[in-house]
């Protein structure tokens, strides 16, 4: 259900937003790790059986026990191992491309090598300024995201249940939602008294819409039979809302919160790159201005890690309230 909701949300979003959503989708595959693993294991087993038989029947010179051992090893190698291997291959290719200055349409001449990025990262870890950049970004996310959750869930619940409110509010959402965060920057700087507040505003805006829309979606899909059951048990409107509509919408709200977290990072970065003196986005852009190329990649990786970590935290916080949606035996 979550996955479907997520897909739906990403579908009707502009491209830029979709890009930032990618890490989340990866998160999903990580969460569903067990099921995918078991299914790949099944297919592997099938494959190995099939090959085994054909080999055994056609070529008797090949020793089946050796083959079996190979296949057994193959079966044991789970997706983690394959993943590590794949990343290592990627790193080696990156390294080769940079040291041989690969330049065919894509130019690797000025790209730092993986090793220089690693050493730059270690240098930064010893620098307090680096942590200030991270903390400033985290603070902006925390403030903007909290406001977005509060307003987004509230608005979503109201317009999900009230036809009149929906008619009044939905046009605003439809007009403002497709405008990318970057496009807001000039106006935000004009609107807000400080640079800090305009960055927080842009970050807030990014998180707001996915949260509103997922909440509305969740409210709308509340099973009618549950509403009827609550009514016949004596519940009035407010109690139906509290005991039925809200919990029924929670899975959808949770996925909206996770998406909102991803988009708020995206928006924050846009704001930080263009203005500000601190923040991990500023750090990354500043590294480019200072021709300190390894730090660009350090900044990028830290942004990615912080985005994944914060989305993971949102999911972790929501998990206890979604216990009932988990499959059971």
């Amino acid at each position: 259900m979550n996955v479907r909701a997520l897909e739906k949300c990403t579908d009707d979003r502009p491209d830029e937003v979709e890009n930032i959503l990618l890490p989340e989708e990866q998160n999903f595959t990580v969460e569903n790790h067990d099921s995918t693993k078991s299914s790949t294991e099944d297919t592997l087993e099938l494959k190995s059986d099939g090959v085994d038989h054909s080999v055994g029947s056609t070529k008797k010179t090949l020793k089946p026990p050796v083959l079996e051992k190979v296949f057994a090893l193959y079966k044991k190698t789970d997706s983690l191992f394959i993943g590590v291997l794949s990343i290592s291959v990627g790193l080696v290719l990156w390294h080769l491309a940079t040291i041989y200055s690969f330049n065919f349409y894509i130019n690797f001449q000025n790209i730092p090598t993986p090793l220089s990025v690693g050493s730059a990262f270690i240098t930064q870890l010893a620098d307090t300024e680096f942590y200030i950049h991270i903390l400033v970004s985290l603070k902006r996310i925390l403030v903007a995201y909290s406001i977005a959750v509060f307003l987004g869930v509230g608005t979503g619940l109201v317009i999900g249940r009230s036809r009149m409110m929906r008619a009044a509010v939905l046009p605003y959402i439809e007009i403002i939602r497709p405008i990318p965060a970057v496009a807001w920057i000039p106006l935000a700087i004009l609107m807000w008294p400080t640079e800090e507040s305009s960055i927080v505003y842009i970050t807030f805006l990014g998180a707001l819409f996915p949260i509103i829309l997922s909440t509305v979606h969740g409210v709308e899909q509340t099973p009618e039979v549950l509403v009827r059951a609550a009514l016949s048990l004596g519940a009035k409107r407010s109690k139906v809302f509290l005991h039925v509509v809200l919990p029924a919408a929670l899975p959808s709200i949770a996925s909206g919160l996770a998406i909102g977290m991803g988009v708020s990072w995206f928006s924050l970065l846009a704001g930080e790159v263009i203005s500000g003196q601190y923040g991990i986005g500023y750090f990354t852009w500043n590294a480019y201005s200072l021709i300190n190329y390894p730090d660009i990649v350090v900044g990028m990786l830290v942004i990615g890690a912080l985005g994944s970590l914060s989305t993971f935290l949102v999911r972790l916080i929501m998990r206890p309230s979604l216990r009932w949606t988990l499959p059971r035996n």
Binding site: L226, A229, A230, S232, G234, A248, R323, R328
Partner: protein
């Protein structure tokens, strides 16, 4: 021990009350959906008098408007004309005096079995202690004490329906409205559920309005069977079931049962044929 004493007392009081309450009157009720050219009459002018404590089955093919009629008693649907009365009071909205049992998936999936049953009493403003004691009473009545802490998703379909019945009864309603409650269960489970419903009913004596399209189920359960026909929905037969109680599943082979079944089937067959011809003509 103490708790048990309290419970029996509660039940006795309830039984006494229920003798005098639970009369359902349906007076010239017409139910329609849409308006103008799209107007669709679901239930044609129907009048019924159901005395307190009677077990009434409404039997008919799917789409004949039997659920619609039940929903008007529940208060989910307003009749286009006519009135539904419960103990001489007009029904205008859903309420805890009419316990509703649905076909399936009607338990709150995020609440435990115990919380589901305690929901009605909690809404009614009982203290947590009272709610717990009521929930425990009904849990033991349906034999699911061990499942109190489970979520509905962890129960079988039959168990879920038992919890559904217990949840509706926990409000001590005057009438129990059941909309094909066993329709989604397998045949064996259904038989067991029917017997246990009769046991519960004999203890509570509540008026029951039970919707089904299963002739055997209707005869086995009911004091009285109302057969409904489709297009537009109306009651075409009102049969009394004089089979002795308590009933066990082996009565399905008795002569009276088979006679009654033949009668019901011939009514339904005529109607189904009519409906079938209608649908092929279109």
């Amino acid at each position: 021990m103490k708790a048990e004493k309290g419970l029996t007392k509660e039940r006795v009081i309830h039984q006494k009350k229920s003798i005098s309450r639970g009369r359902v009157n349906i007076n010239d009720v017409t139910i329609s959906f849409g308006s103008g050219a799209n107007k669709n009459i679901a239930v044609e002018t129907t009048t019924l008098d159901i005395p307190p404590g009677e077990f009434v089955c409404i039997l008919g093919p799917s789409g004949c408007g039997k659920s619609t009629l039940l929903n008007s008693v529940a208060g989910y649907i307003k009749p286009a004309s006519g009135q539904v009365l419960l103990d001489e009071k007009e029904v205008t909205q859903p309420g805890p005096d009419r316990g509703m049992v649905f076909q399936q998936h009607s338990l709150f999936p995020w609440k435990t079995v115990h919380e589901n049953i305690a929901f009605g009493p909690k809404i009614a403003g009982h203290s947590q202690k009272e709610c717990d004691s009521i929930a425990n009473t009904f849990l033991s009545m349906i034999g699911l004490q061990g499942m109190a802490g489970k979520l509905p998703g962890e129960l079988s379909g039959g168990m879920q329906q038992r919890v559904g019945i217990a949840r509706a009864l926990a409000n001590y309603p005057s009438v129990l409205l059941m909309d094909e409650p066993f329709g989604a269960l397998d045949a064996q489970t259904r038989l067991i559920m029917q017997e246990s419903l009769l046991n519960i009913w004999s203890e509570f004596g509540t008026t029951v309005l039970f919707i089904t399209h299963d002739v055997d189920e209707a005869i086995f359960l009911a004091d009285r069977i109302l057969i409904m026909s489709a297009g537009p929905g109306s009651i075409i037969a009102d049969l009394n079931v004089e089979l002795p109680r308590p009933r066990h599943s082996d009565i399905a082979t008795s002569e009276e049962f088979v006679d009654l079944k033949r009668k019901c089937l011939s009514h339904i067959r005529k109607e189904s044929l009519k409906a079938f011809e209608c649908s092929t003509n279109h």
